[in-house]
Amino acid sequence: MAKYEVTKLLDVRGEVCPVPDVETKRALKDMKSGEILCVWIDYPMSKERIPETVKSLGHEVLEIEEVGPSEWKIYIKVK
């Protein structure tokens, strides 16, 4: 299971738009280069928008893993 060495897990399932996006941005700001953030979401729009926002900030999206019905984990490597 431990595919990546996740530094921080951000569980934002059930949160209203755009809390998942904002929390992701805030978490990334406090992390060091090379660390891995895992964002756990259940809203499809977040799955589509967060990776693009993260990429535009220069971070790397390692994987978007489907972990359940309408649930995903986005693994992000901090630049």
């Binding site: 569980d11 059930g14 904002v22 729009m45 589509e48 693009e52 926002t53």
Partner: protein, 330 residues
């Protein structure tokens, strides 16, 4: 002909759900995430609808009915609506279609929105609306495609033919749409496809709604008020009430089919309080403004109605204010 409202609503709900169309996001993403994906959808469909509506009106299929300008409602009311949609986690259409996706916060936001809208429309708060309606400004249209006692459009302001005005208006919007860079997004329905489908639906909605003696296109707020009336009095479901029910049904069908239906609940229950306050501000603001982001921004702006253009500007200002307060500060 009320059933046509249900049909339009179901189609609308599917497009909203697949296209992830939320004006709260469209306005806010530009500011917060420098993401213009949904704004591009918006400017594209507004231009297309502007031309289609005038063409069908000239063919005498439709009679256009731009909302009267109200200097207080279209500014203060619209601003209140803009503040509310950020708290509610979605605009009027966003909250409505997410109800069908199983977003429990939207259930409460929607109820609060509908209840407050009904209270301002015909209940205990109706004095607010009555006080503001006095300031409505009606236009003397030079073109015969508009209803009597409706509001001014850009064509009236510039005193040119509505079709020429629509072409200029659409060209300006499309230059922005296609000549500037669009944010990428992996999605189930491309924004261009969503824009074309929605523009076609908008014309169809106007035509069917007119046959049910409601001379307007797509909307949300009036539908919620009707649903509240039906629930609490012996009023019958009307076209727009059926349309709102249809949106919820269509979004639910689309979400289930796309394996995206889920009962979503936030961990912090205070979120429910936040969305209910947001819904109430939206209900108050939408009725004072004479429409929400669908009635004004998606339908009225394509009519080039001054009321809708001003309201949309104030929706955006309210949206940006609250987005900055909640999410923008470091």
């Amino acid at each position: 002909m009320v059933w046509t409202g249900l049909l339009v609503g179901i189609l609308f709900g599917i497009i909203l759900q697949r296209g992830r169309i939320c004006f709260n996001s469209a306005y806010r993403d530009v500011l917060l995430f420098k993401d213009n994906y949904l704004l591009k959808f918006y400017t594209f469909t507004v231009g297309l609808q502007a031309i289609l509506l005038v063409v069908f009106a000239k063919l005498k299929v439709l009679v256009l009915n731009p909302a009267p300008f109200n200097p207080i409602g279209n500014t203060i009311g619209a601003y209140i609506f803009g503040l509310g949609m950020v708290l509610a986690g979605g605009c009027a259409s966003g909250v409505t279609y997410r109800i069908g996706e199983g977003m429990t916060t939207s259930w409460l936001a929607g109820l609060s929105f509908g209840l407050t809208a009904a209270a301002v429309q015909r209940g205990v708060l109706s004095f607010l609306r009555e006080g503001i309606t006095k300031f409505n400004v009606f236009a003397d249209h030079t073109s015969g495609i508009y209803m009597h006692s409706s509001g001014a459009t850009l064509a009236d302001v510039f005193k040119i033919d509505p079709l020429l005005m629509a072409i200029i208006f659409a060209a300006a919007l499309w230059i922005y749409t296609f000549a500037t860079k669009t944010t990428k997004r992996e999605t189930k329905m491309d924004w261009r496809l969503a824009g074309v489908l929605l523009s076609a639906l908008s014309v169809f909605a106007w035509w069917t709604s007119s046959h049910a003696r409601r001379i307007y296109g797509l909307g949300i707020t009036g539908g919620w008020v009707n649903i509240m009336n039906v629930l609490t009095t012996k009023a019958k479901v009307d076209w727009i009430g059926a349309e709102v029910l249809g949106i919820i049904i269509g979004a639910a069908i689309s979400a289930v089919a796309g394996k995206e239906f889920k009962l979503r609940m936030p961990k912090n229950p205070i979120t429910y309080v936040q969305v209910m306050i947001g819904g109430a501000l939206m209900g108050l603001g939408a009725v004072l403004a004479g429409g929400c982001n669908i009635g004004h921004s998606l339908t009225g702006v394509p009519l080039m109605a001054i009321s809708s253009i001003v309201s949309t500007i104030f929706f955006i200002l309210g949206n940006w204010t609250m987005a900055w307060i909640l999410f923008g500060r470091k």
